[in-house]
């Protein structure tokens, strides 16, 4: 048993719970931002041609 626990486990104050919630929210927001950023950077790196449709070369059958 450490200094922060009793029979019910770790006991957090309301302020600590609020602080933990805010930290979790901040981490979630940073991760979401990074997902968007990496997606946009990938599109930018691939260039404008990645958005074009219908440019697939026709398949010719050689007999």
């Amino acid at each position: 048993m450490n200094a922060m626990s009793d029979d019910k486990g770790v006991v957090l104050t309301e302020a600590q719970k609020k602080s933990r919630k805010r930290r979790s929210l901040a981490i979630a927001l940073v991760l979401a931002f990074l997902c968007v950023l990496f997606y946009v950077v990938t599109i930018v790196k691939l260039g404008p041609n990645v958005m074009k449709k219908g440019d697939v070369p026709a398949i010719t059958v050689v007999s």
């Binding site: 922060m4 009793d6 302020a15 600590q16 950077v41």
Partner: protein, 306 residues
């Protein structure tokens, strides 16, 4: 039972490891970070060639995160010093809100992440320069120099001077004379800026055992060194114009600002006793921030107008 729980809850409240988001933000030294972002942006804007705005944003973000990471590592290493100085004892680690180990892992993780992101998404040279900057600030300055020599901030100033070079390298993939001149400008600006503060916070540094120049060589020698560095800085500030890298606007403003810098530094050199001496140091410290900000602001404006 409830009494025990309550008592333990109170103790838990006093323990570290329950920091708020703002504490992790404070570990990044946001004020230093803003200056780094600003000078890095000037490097990006001044560099010849184009960079996609998104990639430019990523470069700036990485420079900011890297600078913040170095700040967190510095706060981890210097927590004992910070606890002894009025100016810094409210920081998250000495105040007990963040565990030292947490700050170290946080700083290391952000260092690696920012360097990898910059190297892979923007350019290898920029990433390598950022890695060197973080290493220089966290290891060379914080661990080796700060407690060992009064030349700590002179040599350590190289870390703060590199962001415009990183910005330039992010666009061009190389380094040329202009970014090196911007590097030299910040490098030579750093000693008079920090020594003006050191004159004001001499007792703080003495208590913490940091060998700043006023504590080791005395106030008079510090004033002399401030004056000598200012004599170097004023012409260096105008050098980009003299070498044909900027327009007349920068030329005129850099000369006026340089002369004013010399005036403030001369006041520090001359006034050595009492309130007048303290006021002169305060004025030079405040003006030095304005000086660097205005010079880089003009460089930014001229760069955007091209």
């Amino acid at each position: 039972m409830s009494l025990v729980s309550e008592e333990r809850s109170v103790r838990a409240d006093q323990l570290s490891g329950f920091a708020g988001v703002e504490d992790y933000w404070a570990l990044l030294k946001p004020r230093v970070m803003s200056l780094v972002v600003f000078t890095g942006l000037v490097g990006i804007v001044r560099a010849p060639g184009d960079i996609h705005p998104v990639i430019g944003f990523v470069a700036l973000l990485c420079i900011a995160i890297g600078a913040g990471a170095a700040g967190a590592l510095n706060m981890w290493w210097d927590a004992d010093i910070d606890a002894r100085m009025d100016r810094t004892r409210g920081r998250p680690i000495p105040a007990g809100r963040v565990e030292p180990g947490e700050a170290m892992v946080y700083g290391l993780f952000l260092s690696v992440a920012s360097v990898l992101m910059l190297g892979l998404l923007v350019g290898v040279l920029a990433g390598a320069l950022l890695a060197f900057t973080i290493f220089f600030y966290a290891v060379v300055y914080s661990m080796w120099l700060k407690r060992a020599t009064p030349q700590n901030i002179v040599i350590g100033g190289a870390a703060g001077a590199l962001p415009p070079v990183i910005g330039w390298a992010a666009v061009t993939g190389n380094v040329s004379l202009e970014p090196l001149l911007l590097f030299a400008l910040i490098f030579i600006w750093t000693p008079p800026h920090f020594w003006a503060l050191a004159l004001l916070k001499k007792r703080d540094y003495e208590r913490a055992g940091v060998p700043m120049l006023p504590n080791v060589a005395g106030d008079d020698e510090t004033r002399r060194q401030i004056w000598l560095y200012s004599l170097l800085l004023a012409p260096l500030g105008a050098a980009p114009f003299a070498l044909g890298m900027t327009g007349w606007l920068y030329g005129a403003i850099s000369i006026v600002l340089g002369v004013l810098f010399l005036v403030f530094a001369w006041q520090v050199y001359r006034k050595r006793e009492g309130d007048a001496a303290e006021r002169a140091a305060k004025h030079l410290f405040a003006y030095s921030i304005l000086y660097l900000f205005l010079l880089f602001a003009v460089l930014l404006v001229e760069g955007m107008a091209r």
